[in-house]
């Protein structure tokens, strides 16, 4: 299923603001929701058939934030979000929130955590949803239609993993260049042998550029350098954020889980972790990247919930911050001498 354009951004903006507000209180969430007039998210002249589809997709996306590997605070936010969306929807009868059997134990645990920590508002709201019979109790979270469509997750991975195969390098490899050189030398020698002057070929036999192998090598090298620089650029913009915030990954990574869950968490986490300069009115409170406590359900009372000191921000500004560092990276790329070691595609990191 294709997603609803803009929806993920709106959800992540709201949840990010909630996280930054440093609380799990519904009151605060409601403020943020009202600020954005989030109840209008279903507005627009949409006919019933389309509206049903749209609402299902909306609830489906929101539901994903309700489960691990998201942090406790995000999950509470997702619960409030579902509460709001379920009641704000315009479908008649209402579209339901799907819960798969395999996810129910997780929800039970979450509920217990809420009660233990005396987050009564969250527990109350979950209770209200349940009494309103807002859930469909299903076998699996999504409908499975054996469609081998590209999934949304792929977009996440595209950021992390490197670009698709470098065609030039895989064609003009080390071996290929070496062999070309050998053949070229051999050819030159042959020409000499049949020429009058044994030390150099006849002018009449000069049919190709003598230095074409060297030129080819240079062009390939240039391309490779350009490619590497581009990768460095991308990597550095991520690395500066990553190294600083590595310890805070704990906040998002609840389960030891699979590598994939970790990768996903890392990526989703990143959208909340870039640093922004505070506006002038708040200069006295510069943003600091401090280490926050990790863990789920900790904090006996609401007032002691985590210190979230990062703010979400549009990607553009983040990259301008790190541009200075990228310059440095470029200059330190070593110059190759002679025959370059052209790394095969697979051995790139």
């Amino acid at each position: 299923m294709s997603g609803v354009p803009g929806l993920k951004e709106d959800f992540e903006e709201l949840l990010g603001a909630f996280q930054q507000a440093d609380t799990v209180r519904f009151e605060r969430f409601a403020e943020l929701w009202r600020e954005r007039r989030f109840h209008t998210i279903f507005y627009g002249r949409i006919r019933a058939l389309e509206r049903n589809k749209l609402t299902k997709k909306t609830l489906d996306l929101a539901q994903q934030y309700f489960f691990p590997p998201y942090s406790f605070q995000i999950r509470v936010g997702a619960l409030y979000l579902l509460y709001g969306l379920y009641n704000a929807q315009l479908c008649q009868p209402k579209q339901k929130i799907r819960i798969a059997l395999k996810d129910w134990p997780e929800i039970q645990k979450f509920q217990l955590d809420l009660l233990d920590s005396q987050h009564y508002d969250a527990a109350y709201i979950f209770r209200r949803l349940r009494l309103a019979r807002a859930f469909h109790f299903t076998a699996m979270p999504k409908l499975l239609t054996y469609r081998t469509k590209k999934k949304i997750e792929e977009n996440y991975f595209k950021e992390e993993f490197k670009d698709p195969s470098n065609r030039v390098n895989s064609l003009i490899t080390n071996d290929v260049l070496e062999e070309l050189m050998n053949i070229h030398d051999h050819y030159q020698k042959m020409k000499c042998v049949i020429s009058a002057d044994k030390s150099q070929p006849d002018k009449a036999l000069s049919l190709i550029k003598d230095d074409f192998v060297v030129s080819l090598k240079d062009i390939t090298l240039e391309h490779q350098e350009w490619q590497q620089n581009r990768m460095e650029l991308l990597r550095n913009s991520k690395v500066t954020n990553e190294t600083e915030d590595k310890k805070k990954e704990e906040i998002f990574l609840q389960s030891e889980g699979s590598e994939r869950a970790n990768a996903l968490a890392r990526i989703k986490y990143k959208s909340y972790s870039a640093v922004v300069e505070v506006s002038k009115s708040r200069r006295h409170r510069q943003v600091q990247l401090e280490s926050s406590e990790s863990g789920s359900g900790c904090g006996k009372s609401p007032s002691r919930s985590k210190k979230a000191s990062r703010r979400p921000q549009p990607a553009r500004r983040g990259s301008s911050e790190v541009r200075g560092e990228m310059q440095v990276a470029r200059e330190t790329v070593t110059q190759h001498i002679g025959m370059p070691v052209i790394i095969e595609e697979d051995s790139d990191e």
């Binding site: 803009g6 209008t40 627009g44 009641n87 799907r98 009494l131 109790f137 699996m140 239609t145």
Partner: protein, 376 residues
């Protein structure tokens, strides 16, 4: 023993095989009466004492919660809002994008209303919602399972190569397989065998559905054969013999009677293609896309199940002459027709091929034709 909850066998594609009934059991064990209730009206708002008891908080807190967590906190406090109108300066990206799209539509489209296909699709999807039977014995029980099946059409049109059209049917866990089989409407069941150019008035005795009653479902290594009538044959026997003749890598394939099983008895994978075969060689792929507990907003009249909620609109072939009526005859080697094969409605067919006395004119072969779009 506690069965494991269904989970993916192939990530995001299909699940491991599990017994359908076990899913129902597991859910019913985990949930309480309010979750499973099919009563029409939702529970009234709880009294504070009940809330306090459930959450383990003070009654005063419960009262506070009722106020603070009310849904009014999230709804518009302003006067009546028109939900068709997107606010001009919305901070929501979703709305800004949607507004742009809607504005573009307004510019380009002259008349923007539902076409008949959309109306049909919506009607099918929602017509049975919340329906309750007059007779209380027909009311579906709490805790019943609802399966969603996609049954693909066998019609092979070139244009359907990449996206095979399908019907979507809802079926109850307690229903027999034979009930599903009887509900599947396929054009091949209506075929009338025989060449009738010499006797066009002779209404054929039987349609294929009456003549060839055999059918089977194939789920997880078991063939469920329809054996209700003496004419029914075991169509799967030849397949089983084939698989046993050499080591072909198939586990023990079994053949059982379709009428002895309900869906709760089956072991299935969700999202995995299975088979329905009838008329000897008419094959439909079946995929179970969803299984869940029944909900009070679903159709609760047992008699309406299996319930068709989606079908593919197939354009019917029209008569070559009048271009108005659906074709009922097809001719081959027709000296009077410009094409081979050529399609005619009943009136045009007779007018062209027979004289006033009913004598056959020209040379041709004529067969009754049933258009796949007949179920539109």
């Amino acid at each position: 023993a506690e069965a494991a909850a269904p989970d993916y066998e192939s990530a995001e594609l299909y699940t491991r095989s599990f017994r359908v009934g076990a899913l129902g059991l597991s859910w019913r064990r985990l949930l309480g009466p309010p979750d499973l209730s099919l009563a029409a009206a939702a529970e009234e708002e709880e009294v504070d004492a009940a809330v306090a008891a459930a959450l383990g908080c003070a009654p005063g807190t419960a009262a506070e919660l009722r106020a603070v967590c009310s849904i009014d906190m999230l709804m518009s406090s302003e006067k009546e809002e028109d939900s068709d109108v997107i606010p001009e300066d919305s901070s929501l990206l979703t709305l800004r994008i949607r507004k742009k799209a809607l504005d573009r539509r307004e510019e380009k489209i002259i008349v923007d209303r539902a076409c008949r296909q959309e109306t049909l699709t919506y009607e099918m999807e929602s017509h049975a919602t919340g329906k309750r039977p007059d007779n209380p014995t027909d009311l579906i029980e709490e805790g019943e399972l609802l399966l969603t099946l996609n049954i693909f059409y066998p019609v092979i049109f070139q244009k359907h190569k990449d996206h095979k059209p399908y019907q979507t049917v809802l079926v109850l866990g307690s229903q027999k397989l034979t009930e599903l089989r009887d509900s599947i409407s396929c054009v091949s069941d209506l075929q009338i065998g025989g060449e009738f150019s010499c006797q066009p008035d002779q209404a054929p005795e039987h349609i294929s559905k009456d003549l060839y009653k055999s059918a089977f479902f194939y789920f997880e290594g078991i063939f469920y054969n329809d054996k209700r009538y003496p004419e029914c044959r075991d169509l799967s026997r030849i397949i089983i013999e084939w698989s046993e003749s050499h080591d072909r890598g198939y586990e023990n394939l079994q053949s059982v009677k379709m009428e002895d099983y309900v869906f709760n008895d089956l072991s299935l994978k969700i999202g995995f293609p299975y088979l329905y075969c009838h008329q000897g060689n008419c094959e439909h792929i079946i995929i179970i896309t969803d299984i869940r507990l029944i909900h009070h907003d679903d159709c609760l009249d047992r008699n309406l199940y299996p319930l068709l909620v989606k079908k593919h609109w197939l354009c019917t072939r029209k008569c070559f002459v009048c271009k108005m009526y659906t074709a009922r005859w097809v001719t081959n080697r027709d000296s009077l027709a410009p094409e081979d094969p050529c399609f005619f409605c009943d009136v045009c067919f007779r007018m062209l091929h027979y004289d006033a006395e009913g004598n056959k004119l020209g040379e041709f072969l004529a067969y009754p034709y049933v258009d796949p779009g007949i179920f539109n």
